[in-house]
Symmetry: C2
Subunit: 453 residues, 2 copies
């Protein structure tokens, strides 16, 4: 697909200079020290932020596509030379740089927990090091949003959710990734047209207050819209007075019916959603328009979704925006990428509060007899016997992606399956029980064996 | 500059599909209704989030570059056709679409306040409407970060700040814009190498714990680094034990001195920053290394910067990361774009809690005799006599950028000048006084004259 390629070039294949300077200065020192043996880095999230109890993995596709094509352009090298940091020996090394490593990772859409490795890179030390910043940024952000979105899906109890966040995401790339990360958890659509084009996500939209204002009155605005979108109209009814707006919508909806068209819904965007939605539902029902749906948008997140539904709002679909698009109550995760093995030696870090587990690892998930998740074990990569189902799989070997990248819809299925198997007690918005994550005896033993310098 | 153009293509010239669907469906309805007279939209931020008391404008450069080149590609049009929303008449209109409007805006780096218009677009209704999402996203995010960064600059009281946020920003574009938005408020450098290349921002970096771990011991790691960067080394000393790390650094620093080199500094990245920095300072001073600086990084934001400095930390430079890169305590602003005039008629919206001021506006700033800011007046665009210095200027006419875009360094000067003229009482992190913003009699009068539909 031409368009897709163009988008990837613009937004994902951003090149190896999207990195912290120290990744490159360390690489230069490694070259000089002839220190470039095989290393393994482990990527995981420390702890849970505010009220979180699980994570949903996202971002792997971007990582794999970028790594498979990573190289320094002539202008990248010219810039690096101009900084005065790097000598010609190192720049020559970078000229031929390619990522040739192996990656194990949890598939996108997988539910996982704090401290569990979700991606491990094994490669010559320098290759594994210089990709750190990009990996953390990409996996961290998309996982953050997929997690927030999953909480909304849970709170919405089957009601339709639509991503309306584009105007308030933290930049252009974020706007694209929020559309993708929310869709993979079960959002039905996005308002982001470019995400429709690039990712094939269904797009959805209504009208703005400015549209209503541009006409002499609401009725004229609704009629004009219905004339162009006889089967796709949702009228915004709160520009002046919501209940009066509902009555105007009813009038136009009846005209539409006469013309063989059908109003899809009306939208509320301000005020008391519970009370107004019920009043508007009554107006619609009394007019014989019980098939006209009520859309609502107004700063929703998982908490207000749950509350609004609990209080009996007559809302069929929610436009979910800003607070989900930036994960407002927890706008970052403490995602880290740590050296766990170098030159056949397992290594760990002992800085206060920042300890790491040495060694190449695997997460093993223990299932109940009905397939639901009981507990996870963080173990060494090849335990025998395995204490559960391995969660990380091999996704890249020698710098090449293994197999086909999963489609977005198949990722959505992975998520749905995972989420169904996570019991309610671990998903609750409040007072959720901590999901049990243990360390296997073999991994614990390996920590004791790990020599300190 | 080739590299710059390439970057803009990748990250800024993202095209008109980066928009909410409703911008395009409304446009289609306007076309059908022959409703495309001149409109003015006003962009402003409602209120202040948590603890904010002022804003710093950023993002205008991206807006102007994008608007000057906005057009629908053949593949954009093919995609829109495939959605089934749009007929050929509208697609033909889009084929020749260009932005031909006028823009008034506050220059980047300007300090401004809630409710003040900071950008006004006057153009045929459709042109002004379809750019809404992009404008809000771009100005909103960069202003959010510049504001957070300004608070850090204020809290740091002259100490050096460096942007270390790249690994935790909300996506790729955010990583670039955070480097730019923090630099324009006075950050000294960024760790983001691509921002160095694209924006010419100084780049800075030290080393990671993994670097120290890849060597048999700290001394070997420090020596190897110093051999490659004899004039640019900052040693990370907390991988195992901070004070012992400091002593190892001293040993290598003395060797460097013998070789005619000089250690720039050491970095602390964990633990009690106040206590450790003072202990390390003592170790360095006692070794005759009082010129070696202490860098610190560990989740800093304006609050912890102020606290750490208040408590007497011996820290010369701070690496500021995640919490600033996502504006963690307030990760979005309530930025809106409202129709205020259409076809020579001033318009306003009356939805509960979402009222707008009709008419084309200007912000007038009243200065003290010493040039410091006393109060602002939101007025109509051309008041006579002017109640103060106009803050918005004309930046685009008939779709063309007026004059040269200011350099990033000149934007930094605009900010510095603005920030100096904002009195301390309005800048304090806690209990800051609300800066007085009034509405002029002429603007108030215009509201009364504005006919409701």
């Amino acid at each position: 697909m031409e368009s897709n390629t163009r988008f990837l070039k613009r937004h994902i294949d951003i090149g190896p200079l999207f990195t912290d300077l120290y990744e490159l200065t360390m690489a230069a020192a490694y070259i000089k020290s002839h220190l470039n043996e095989r290393a393994t880095f482990s990527l995981f999230i420390r702890g849970f932020p505010h009220r979180r109890n699980y994570y949903v993995a996202a971002g792997l596709e971007d990582v794999l596509l970028e790594l498979q094509n990573l190289s320094f352009s002539a202008s990248d090298l010219a810039f690096l030379k101009s900084t005065g940091y790097f000598d010609d020996q190192f720049l020559t090394y970078l000229k031929d740089f390619r990522f040739s490593g192996d990656i194990h990772a949890v598939p996108e859409g997988t539910v996982f927990f704090a401290e569990e490795p979700i991606l491990e890179v094994s490669a010559p030390l320098i290759e594994a090091q210089v990709i750190e910043t990009f990996l953390l940024n990409t996996i961290g952000f998309q996982t953050l949003i997929a997690t927030k979105a999953a909480r909304c899906i849970h709170a919405a109890r089957g009601r339709t959710l639509i991503d309306f966040s584009l105007r308030r995401t933290q930049g252009i790339d974020a706007g694209m990734k929020v559309a993708r990360s929310t869709y993979l958890t079960g959002f039905a659509a996005t308002s982001n047209v470019l995400a429709g084009k690039v990712y094939g996500i269904p797009i959805s939209g209504t009208m703005a207050h400015s549209f209503v204002q541009a006409f002499p009155n609401e009725q004229a605005a609704f009629r004009a819209y219905a004339a162009v979108f006889p089967e796709k109209s949702v009228f915004l009814i709160d520009t002046y007075d919501t209940l009066e707006g509902a009555r105007q919508a009813v009038r136009v909806a009846k005209e539409m019916r006469t013309d063989g068209a059908a109003l899809i819904g009306i939208r509320l965007d301000s005020g008391d959603m519970v009370r107004q939605s019920r009043q508007v539902r009554r107006i619609l029902d009394q007019a014989g328009l019980s098939d006209v749906k009520i859309f609502a948008s107004s700063g929703f997140d998982e908490y207000s979704l749950a509350r609004t539904i609990d209080q009996g709002a007559a809302i069929d679909a929610f436009g979910v925006g800003t607070k989900v698009g930036v994960s407002a109550d927890a706008p970052y995760v403490d995602i880290v990428y740590k050296l766990v093995r170098y030159a056949d030696r397992n290594v760990r870090k002992l800085s206060p509060g920042k300890q790491t587990l040495a060694g190449q690892k695997q997460v093993y998930r223990v299932l109940d007899s009905d397939g639901r998740y009981k507990a996870d074990f963080i173990g060494i990569r090849h335990e025998d016997p395995q204490p559960g189902v391995p969660v990380l799989i091999s996704v890249m070997q020698n710098g090449r992606i293994l197999g086909e990248l999963p489609s977005l819809d198949s990722i959505t299925k992975v998520f749905r399956n995972n989420f169904e198997n996570l019991k309610e007690q671990f998903k609750k918005l409040d007072n959720a029980r901590a999901y049990p994550v243990h360390i296997t005896a073999q991994l614990a033993e390996l920590q004791n064996l790990t020599k300190m310098p």
